[in-house]
């Protein structure tokens, strides 16, 4: 497989959601074409920040992001971010939300746009809801719309920032399985941030584990188990334990830092 995205010596200090100061420290990582790559680490380690930098929504202090051999600067539809809370537009219907980004493509007619939007809505099983407004949908349905809205732009790489974290367990399992199906069908490149190890092991071709402050790559796990993966497969259980053990120390450090901060 060819290398599609290169993250080279990337560093960045940033303010975390809880007000602390986090840092990514000289991260280098290659993402292969068609790969499903999961980023796992304790909260505050900078995995979401890294995703946003790749998406062009934030700037690195140092280092470069190279997509298909070209250095990138700023956001673009070739690297679409899918957010945890969707970020759907409540003043538009479902299909209008999905079409929204396509309007930037001047080569597409109105009808082309609608057809593409409908194709991807069908892919996420929401074709019956295309005229609904966002508030009429459940949390899981909203994330499906968000995924369709990203996929319709046919990005080189889809950047997913804990997209299922706000959902209940059942909906989450369903969507994880659907996402696996979509990836199998489209063979697109996905960078997926999660703190849910089971999710990462179910989906990922490789899993990158981050340390806590400064955020560095601690270990990269390659998952050679063919998909779809059986959760009862002993190799899955073994891998999950291995990752959780490795993650455990980092989570502890994160907790300790949080508690001392509160004092």
């Amino acid at each position: 497989m060819t290398i599609e995205l290169q993250i080279q010596d990337l560093s960045k200090t940033f303010v975390t959601r809880t007000g602390g100061v986090g840092a990514l420290d000289t991260i280098s990582l290659d993402v292969k074409e068609g790969e499903f790559l999961c980023l796992v680490g304790p909260s505050g380690c900078g995995k979401s920040t890294l995703l946003n930098i790749v998406g062009g929504l934030e700037r690195a202090d140092q280092g470069r992001i190279i997509l298909d051999g070209k250095s990138i600067d700023g956001p673009g539809a070739d690297r679409v971010v899918i957010f945890q809370d969707g970020g759907l537009f409540p003043w538009l219907t479902v299909v209008q939300n999905v079409e929204f980004g396509l309007k930037e493509r001047k080569d597409l007619s109105k009808q082309d746009r609608r057809e593409r939007a409908e194709y991807f809505l069908k892919l996420v099983h929401l074709d019956k809801f295309e005229d609904a407004y966002i508030h009429e949908l459940s949390g899981g349905m909203r994330q499906r719309v968000a995924i369709a809205r990203g996929l319709v732009l046919e990005p080189r790489i889809l950047l997913m920032d804990e997209p299922f974290a706000a959902l209940d367990t059942q909906t989450r399992d369903l969507l994880v399985e659907e996402l696996r199906g979509i990836h199998e069908k489209l063979q697109n490149t996905i960078l997926f941030v999660t703190h849910h190890v089971r999710e990462a092991v179910h989906l990922g071709d490789r899993i990158v584990l981050f340390t806590y402050r400064p955020g560095r790559i601690k270990q990269i796990f390659t998952v050679d188990i063919p998909k779809p993966r059986d959760p009862d497969d002993p190799r899955i259980g073994k891998l999950i334990r291995e990752i959780v053990d490795s993650l455990h120390g980092e989570v502890e450090k994160a907790l300790e830092a949080e508690l001392t901060l509160e004092k």
Binding site: V81, F89, Y133, E136, R149
Partner: protein, 254 residues
């Protein structure tokens, strides 16, 4: 069902109010040339509408408000959007707008008369100074309070520049912008009435002044009722209806 209840409550309330008014007038606490009875005001209202003097006043005032408010809304929204998104504009023009807002718009009338003479221009100027700042500040605040996720989502889809304003920031801030327009409307209406009061030209404010000159208290009260009714109707029928529609579409209605 609920609508019917509200209408019943309102009807009873106003009927009660008129009864109190009637009682006070009957009690003759004040001479009738200072405190008119409801029936006198009703007669004046009927007369005013039948001899077209009210209609002419209303049309004159509405024409002025349409021009002055229309201009204020367009410029005020544009100004609010720009000051909210461009830092140096916020520091400069934005601060001036806040300063001007603290000045009651009628204070502009002396200057406006010197600049424009006793003309339509002077009144329009006062109306614009009354509404423009409120709309601009309201729009600015609406944009400032937007959840950043909308803009981030648009940017990741490659949307930039004018389209980001027109199709993301503006619709996202629309509920706040409508509130700003509603507030701007009431400022414009008050400014217009104040301006017309001090101005020798047909219009509702002028009718009010005429009531004073003729020592006709029922004319004064009748015109006040017309002014309130017009202001209320625009608020309810246009702005509140718009707000409600937006809330329903976005799932924010209670």
């Amino acid at each position: 069902m609920k609508n019917k209840d509200a209408r019943l409550q309102r009807g009873l309330f106003y009927a009660g109010l008129i009864l109190v008014w009637l009682g006070l007038a009957k009690a003759k606490l004040w001479p009738p040339y200072l405190f008119p009875a409801p029936a006198d005001v009703l007669v004046t209202l009927r007369q005013g509408f039948s001899d077209h003097s009210f209609a002419i006043g209303i049309l004159k005032s509405l024409r002025r408000i349409a021009l002055g408010y229309g201009f204020s809304a367009i410029v005020g929204i544009a100004l609010g959007l720009v000051t909210a998104r461009v830092r140096w504009m916020e520091n400069t023009v934005g601060s001036l707008v806040v300063g001007l807002q603290t000045l009651p718009s009628i204070c502009w009338l002396p200057a406006a008369i010197l600049w424009f003479g006793l003309s339509e221009g002077a009144i329009l100027f006062v109306v614009v100074m009354g509404a423009l700042m409120a709309i601009s500040i309201g729009t600015h605040d609406a944009v400032k309070n937007l959840p950043p996720i909308y803009i981030r989502a648009a940017r990741t889809m490659g949307v930039r520049g004018f389209r980001l304003y027109r199709e993301v920031i503006f619709p996202a801030a629309l509920p706040g912008i409508i509130s700003a327009m509603k507030q701007g409307w009431s400022f414009a209406w008050r400014s217009l009435m104040a301006g017309e009061l001090l101005f020798v030209s047909p219009g509702l404010g002028h009718l009010l002044q005429m009531g004073r000159d003729l020592n006709d208290i029922s004319l004064v009260v009748a015109v006040m009722i017309v002014i309130m009714a017009l202001g209320w109707s625009v608020d309810r029928l246009i702005f509140s209806a718009l707000e409600q529609r937006l809330r329903r579409q976005r799932g924010m209605s209670l």
